[in-house]
């Protein structure tokens, strides 16, 4: 029963936290249309505009955001600068982070979908796959090792950046051990999971220690998502530099909190310079 309570609690924190987090972002206005343009704007007919990298329609911007969320478009641009005598810089394409991050996220997503087999009958999606499991571990190892091996990354990494990695490593390794080596009674797990899903929780029977490690670490991970940098999962869709179309001159973007400017008016200005303007022959509003 305690096990089920912990799982419920983690899930509740996750749901409530995510709602809180997303609402907190969504209710803050986007005061200015600050699209970041990475390609040619739409202007003259003879010039080809970049509909995806510099979208001028909301649909284009949605595609841009989707590409960012699904394929990590911006990371794909990554390069590494090297300073050489001359002075000279060269910028080498650096795709390892893109590849490693994509590997990790895709495998994690696959495994997560695969867990649905414990909740639905019959199991439809995402069969367990040893390549995916290996990919997940490799991705995790990559994300961890680059933080400890690259001096620059080590310096900019905070202690709190290791926490999600540690939790993920615990969840993934305990899961993989159960799946491939220390077989756990899948039917028992499924009974437990279905109990949770149907709000008739039962205590898991006949599962080993690894199962508890797996479940508790996963609970901790899920519960921290809204409160840590893991919120990037939702945040990427909110980023105004990516999800806004670049059409601010074609269509006015309204800022809900803006007050009219305290202008130094033309009349005040002319009052100060009238005599000199008259001498210079400039037109005046008042003589």
């Amino acid at each position: 029963m305690v096990t089920a309570a912990i799982a419920y609690l983690a899930f509740a924190i996750f749901v409530a936290g995510t709602v809180w987090r997303v609402v907190a972002w969504a209710r803050v206005p986007v005061p200015f249309p600050i699209a970041l343009t990475c390609g040619q704007q739409k202007s003259l007919d003879g010039i080809r505009a970049a509909w995806l990298e510099n979208p001028w329609t909301p649909a284009g911007a949605a595609c841009r955001t989707a590409l960012e969320a699904l394929l990590f478009r911006s990371l794909f641009r990554n390069s590494r600068a090297q300073f050489l005598p001359g002075p000279r810089f060269i910028y080498r394409p650096a795709l390892s982070l893109w590849a490693g991050a994509l590997l990790f996220h895709v495998c994690l997503f696959w495994v997560w979908i695969g867990h649905l087999r414990f909740f639905v009958d019959p199991a439809l999606l995402g069969p367990a796959n040893r390549f995916v499991d290996a990919g997940l571990l490799a991705g995790l190892a990559f994300l961890f090792l680059r933080r400890v091996l690259d001096p620059r990354l080590r310096y900019l990494t905070l202690l709190s950046d290791y926490l999600p990695l540690a939790l993920l490593a615990t969840v993934a390794s305990s899961g993989i051990l159960m799946r491939w080596w220390f077989h756990t009674d899948a039917a028992a797990v499924k009974r437990f999971a279905l109990g949770l899903a149907t709000f008739h929780p039962i205590a898991p029977v006949g599962v080993g220690l690894l199962f508890y490690v797996h479940l508790f670490a996963a609970s901790a991970l899920v519960a921290t998502i809204p409160f840590t940098k893991l919120a990037h999962i939702a945040g990427v869709f909110f980023s105004p530099t990516r999800n806004l179309p670049n059409r601010s001159r074609a269509r006015r973007h309204v800022n809900p909190w803006l007050a009219p400017a305290q202008v130094h008016t033309y009349a005040e200005w002319e009052d100060e310079f009238r005599d000199r303007m008259r001498v210079a022959g400039l037109p005046l509003e008042r003589q």
Partner: protein, 529 residues
């Protein structure tokens, strides 16, 4: 003060310090920071806490409750800017942005990595606004707001040119320029700003332009430019000021009227607008397209920018044409319509020459001169003799703001290809949306900030050196007033033998004006080859 030599500055140590972040606070070393805003300018603008002080002083004479002011200011902005709130929350410290900042590349200082620049603010955000930061402090990457932290903000947020290059590479689009803009607003709440910004802003508020040119002086300059063109071409162009009933209001950065080499760009505008028979006027009241208010706060940006629409309305023009300038166009393109629009007294811009409707500007009613002239060239309305620019091998430097805050990439290139025979691009990673900043943008162009500017501009200069060595490039064309002011010095320092010019200067050189006499020299008064 002796300026450091290039071979001293290239000794860049990229190895991060042994002590973990955040480490010791900012070191205000001469040549690496800008002078504090003078009290008289703050007073004129009604900004808080005017006083005499300088950044190296131990006592910054902050108001007693400065911490509450800053935290309260942060709270307000977290409620007003989704960008700010989001960017405080979602950075995963992946490091993709780390070596994309020209200041990091030029100094090796880890706090110039965009991620750690933002972390200066983010750590304080966590401490006062997140449950984890409140409870766990350092463990959660949070820290108290102290005077030393404030000083660090000042040093590093006045060491960011708001160029947005980091954002191109960030998987979440985190734009450190947004963070810098908010950080500068916070610093301004307690009177911590720099004179190279607040002085132009005060000038602009009063006279209508950053340089403080008064209306009669403004008219003199234009008259002088008209005379010079007459001497060169035998053609007397018209340049009216504050003329009601003109079709178009033309607004340029004020440096174009007084700066060198900006001035030759002004000559180029005048010649093109004459040849196209455009009915336009300048305004002495709205004689500034640039907007240093943007480098103080959104409020000051709005105040200065308001003059453009106000003047367009008073003069009864149909639409606004804007000159070559970077941050001016960030404001005109992404802010003006929201800040001071809708300009329902204007009409959607139509080129009086070609009939082209600038539908991309139909609401803000403001067209970039490169869009306008490129349209003329595309329709064959200008006769250009590119051979007149044959003494130049030309490259093009994209201004950060027009590249990443607008996407004006091909229009200037179209003009350069039409006006010059020899045009060469710099390496791919240093142009277009990946363009490298001149190192002096966002108000950091003061002489006293020399070392930082040269360091920040090093990556750009290095790319120029590459095309100089490969193709004999001896002229860098650009469409930004700050570039024109800062790049000549930068390129002299790092490269040598490369001049800087506006795109419209080269167009003006190549332009054959109907009825003109044979020209003896180019716009700079130098012989054609």
């Amino acid at each position: 003060m002796a300026e450091p030599k290039p071979d001293e500055l290239v000794q860049i140590d990229y190895a991060p310090p042994h002590a973990p972040w955040p480490g010791p606070g900012a070191q205000f070393r001469k040549g690496t920071y800008s002078h504090a805003g003078a009290a008289k300018n703050l007073k004129y603008l009604g900004l808080p806490n005017p006083r005499d002080w300088q950044p190296p002083d131990a006592d910054w004479k902050l108001p007693e409750n400065w911490r509450e002011i800053v935290i309260q200011g942060m709270r307000e902005r977290l409620e007003k800017y989704r960008s700010f709130r989001l960017f405080m929350d979602i950075c995963v410290r992946c490091g993709a942005c780390a070596d994309k900042c020209h200041f990091y590349l030029g100094t090796g200082d880890p706090r110039n990595m965009p991620v750690l620049r933002a972390e200066l603010l983010r750590s304080v955000y966590r401490r006062y606004f997140t449950p984890a930061g409140r409870a766990l402090g350092r463990l959660a990457g949070a820290r108290d707001l102290t005077v030393d932290v404030l000083k660090e903000w000042f040093y590093y947020f006045y060491q960011c040119t708001e160029c947005r290059r980091c954002s191109v590479y960030c998987p979440f689009g985190i734009d450190t320029a947004e963070v810098t803009m908010v950080a500068r607003e916070l610093l301004n709440l307690v009177g911590c700003n720099i004179n190279w910004i607040v002085e132009p802003v005060a000038n602009c508020q009063r006279t209508g332009n950053h340089l403080g040119i008064q209306p009669h002086g403004f008219k003199d300059t234009l008259d002088f430019a008209v005379d010079e063109i007459a001497e060169l071409t035998g053609i007397r162009v018209e340049a009216s000021v504050n003329r009601k009933g003109a079709e178009i209001l033309f607004v340029a950065p004020s440096a174009d009227f007084y700066g060198t080499p900006h001035y030759y760009t002004l000559l180029g505008y005048l010649m093109v607008l004459h040849e196209a028979r455009v009915d336009y006027t300048f305004s002495a009241y709205a004689s500034e397209g640039g907007n240093f208010g943007m480098f103080v706060s959104h409020e000051l940006m709005q105040r200065l920018n308001a003059k453009i629409y106000a003047e367009a309305r008073r003069l009864g023009v149909k639409w606004v044409l804007g000159g070559e300038c970077g941050h001016m166009w960030r404001v005109l393109h992404q802010y003006m319509n929201t800040l001071n629009g809708p300009p329902d007294f204007l009409e959607p811009p139509v080129s009086p020459v070609t009939g082209t409707v600038f539908s991309n500007a139909r609401s803000a009613c403001a067209v970039h001169i490169c869009e306008f002239t490129a349209d003329l060239v595309a329709h064959g309305k200008l006769r250009l003799e590119p051979a007149r620019n044959d003494r130049f091998a030309v490259t093009f430097h994209d201004s950060c703001n027009t590249a990443r805050g607008m996407g004006l990439l091909e229009e200037p290139r179209l003009l350069l290809r039409a006006a010059c025979n020899r045009f060469f691009e710099m390496p791919e990673n240093t142009i277009r949306e990946r363009t490298l900043c001149c190192g002096s943008g966002a108000g950091l162009g003061g002489d006293e900030n020399f070392e930082t500017r040269m360091r920040g501009g090093l990556p750009r200069a290095a790319a120029v050196r590459q095309v100089k060595e490969a193709h004999g490039v001896n002229l860098l064309a650009c469409i930004c007033a700050i570039d024109k002011a800062s790049l000549p010095k930068l390129l002299d320092y790092w490269v040598g033998g490369v001049e800087v010019a506006g795109v419209h200067e080269l167009v003006g050189n190549a332009l054959v004006i109907e009825g003109e006499k044979p020209r003896a020299t180019d716009l700079r008064g130098e012989a054609y080859v």
